[in-house]
């Protein structure tokens, strides 16, 4: 119990420290966080002028998943790689804190800064496609578990890449690879059969499904099963980060 309390305290302090980074960026942080998904939505509007509500739902939920993936794989790995490059990583590496705390602190700070972006995405996406959504509160849990389940991947890429350029390339390939092979913008049935089984190995499969359902204001048994599986992915992600990730250079 004491360990969990200590971990939570570390996460909070590191979150606050990381969050203060954005004081240097000001409102630009919100613009950047909402920029990509908003841009994608506007772009897709031109391709889906007569989109059905189902397609619109896939677009909005898919963009939310992409945003979360961007934060937890691309931005997290790049943040860690940058810290290594400018040798600021060792500040954290010598402190008697859990590695997981640092990773979660970074991810949570990105998530909080992205909140306005997510809200904008929902509002503008609904406006553009003329489909108003009232998400179920469980969407917050879906978003958090999606983020946490992907942090392990981002952390490994960031810590073990040799340099920033390598991190940049690998994180983009892995991040968008996750999106492409999983039913984020389309139904699972649209994938060839072998790939369908492959898709079950990725947390984005479950998060996209849960995101679509909770966006409609629904939280059913399927959502709860998806959340349970995301929880397992999250625990594995935390295990990778806290136990297996080595910050000591070889």
């Amino acid at each position: 119990m004491l360990k969990i309390r200590r971990l939570l305290k570390e996460v909070w302090v590191l979150f606050v420290m990381q969050f203060k980074t954005f004081r240097l960026m000001g409102p630009m942080a919100v613009v950047i966080s909402g920029g990509l998904p908003l841009g994608l939505i506007i772009f897709l509007k031109f391709f889906f002028k007569q989109a059905t509500p189902e397609i619109i739902l896939f677009i909005i939920s898919g963009n939310l998943v992409i945003s979360l993936m961007s934060i937890c794989i691309i931005m997290l790995s790049q943040s860690l790689a940058n810290m290594k490059q400018i040798k600021s990583f060792e500040y954290y590496a010598v402190l008697p804190i859990n590695k997981l705390s640092v990773i979660l602190g970074i991810v949570l700070s990105f998530l909080v800064v992205s909140l306005p972006g997510f809200a904008l995405l929902l509002i503008i996406g609904s406006l553009i496609f003329n489909l108003w959504v009232l998400p179920h509160p469980m969407i917050i849990v879906v978003a958090l578990l999606t983020a946490f389940s992907l942090t392990g991947i981002g952390a490994i890429i960031g810590v073990y890449s040799r340099h920033f350029m390598q991190t940049n390339i690998i994180s983009q390939i892995v991040g968008f690879g996750c999106i492409l092979v999983t039913p984020v913008f389309f139904k699972l049935e649209a994938l060839p059969l072998p790939l369908r089984y492959f898709a079950y190995l990725f947390p984005t499969t479950y998060s996209a499904e849960a995101m679509r359902t909770t966006l409609q204001g629904i939280c059913n048994q399927k959502v709860l099963i998806d959340l349970l599986i995301l929880t397992l992915f999250t625990l594995f992600s935390f295990y990778l980060t806290a136990v297996k990730l080595k910050w000591r250079e070889n």
């Binding site: 606050v16 040798k87 590496a93």
Partner: protein, 315 residues
């Protein structure tokens, strides 16, 4: 028998199978001592320190910090060691006060204690007026003081300081050295100093390890090392800038001992051991105070040791 705080045996680090950074280093650092790690740039000091901190895996050899095997269990020593690295870029976006406070808090200090210690350090280091400024906005010297404060704010049994006074003015250097000295005397904290500021560090160092070309080439107290290099007393003589030191005057001064001209009008004379005071009096009478700008009787300094062991000639 002195208790050992840090012990390395056969510590070797080779980067990418090619670059030998530390070669079979075995040394003990005792509990409560101020240990200086000296050496020219690229000698292997930072590699050595990073291995002790658990930031870098040795190629071979062992490291024990207060009995803990750092190679096998690097996480366990983090509560024992406070570290001041060469840059605080991690906290660029925080204010001075925040950086020091959060560092203390993350090191396990309570909130109230962290606040109190932060304010105390800001006052002692004379940087209170900068407390609300972002680290990224500070000058090099103030940033260094802030970095030093972050290393000093929490309690630990070992403190590793990498260039704590680089870029500081003489007044702030004095403050930092005094704080290091007092911390060691009051709390018996073991301190490892990596520094090029040997003239200042000499005042606090109890033992020195000199690294060059990846090996420890000298180890001992400053006195021992100085005696190994040159145990002679010397008269350091600085003449007024407009005084013309003729060949005749130079020859006359050589009567008092071996003469070495360091710079224009800056001489070092090595008198015979038993005639030191006689030589000082003789030089003074010969030249007169009107010509002498500065006269000191000194021994070899740690800087001379550094230069000699680093491979350059003194004069």
């Amino acid at each position: 028998m002195k208790e050992i705080a840090i012990s390395t045996k056969g510590l070797t680090k080779v980067y990418q199978g090619k670059v030998l950074a530390n070669d079979n280093i075995s040394l003990d650092i005792y509990q409560g001592e101020i240990f200086g790690l000296l050496g020219p740039n690229g000698a292997g000091k930072t590699t050595f320190v990073r291995q002790i901190l658990g930031l870098l895996l040795p190629t071979s050899g062992s490291i024990k910090v207060q009995g803990i095997d750092v190679v096998r269990e690097p996480e366990k020593i983090k509560t024992l060691i406070n570290y001041m690295g060469q840059n605080p870029y991690a906290l660029w976006h925080l204010t001075v006060e925040e950086a020091i406070f959060y560092t203390a808090y993350l090191r396990g200090t309570s909130k109230e204690s962290a606040r109190a210690r932060t304010q105390s350090l800001l006052n002692r280091l004379g940087i209170k007026e900068y407390q609300k400024k972002l680290l990224g906005e500070l000058s090099g010297g103030i940033l260094k003081l802030c970095n030093f404060a972050m290393a000093m704010v929490a309690e630990s049994s070992i403190l590793v300081l990498d260039e704590p006074t680089a870029g500081l003015d003489p007044i702030n250097k004095k403050v930092v050295w005094e704080m290091i000295f007092n911390l060691n005397k009051e709390k018996r904290v073991t301190i490892i100093l990596v520094t090029h500021d040997v003239l200042e560090a000499e005042k606090v160092l109890e033992r020195v390890g000199f690294i060059n070309h990846s090996k420890i080439i000298a180890l001992g107290t400053p006195g021992e090392l100085k005696r190994e290099v040159d145990d002679r007393l010397r008269i350091e003589l600085v003449l007024k800038p407009d005084y013309y030191l003729s060949e005749a005057i130079r020859e006359s001064l050589e009567k008092y001992g071996d003469l070495v001209e360091v710079h224009k009008n800056h001489l070092i004379i090595f008198p015979p051991k038993k005639e030191v005071l006689k030589s000082v009096e003789g030089i003074n009478n010969f030249l007169g105070f009107g010509v002498i700008d500065d006269l000191r009787l000194t021994t070899t300094s740690l800087e001379d040791v550094y230069i000699k062991l680093g491979g350059e000639k003194i004069a």
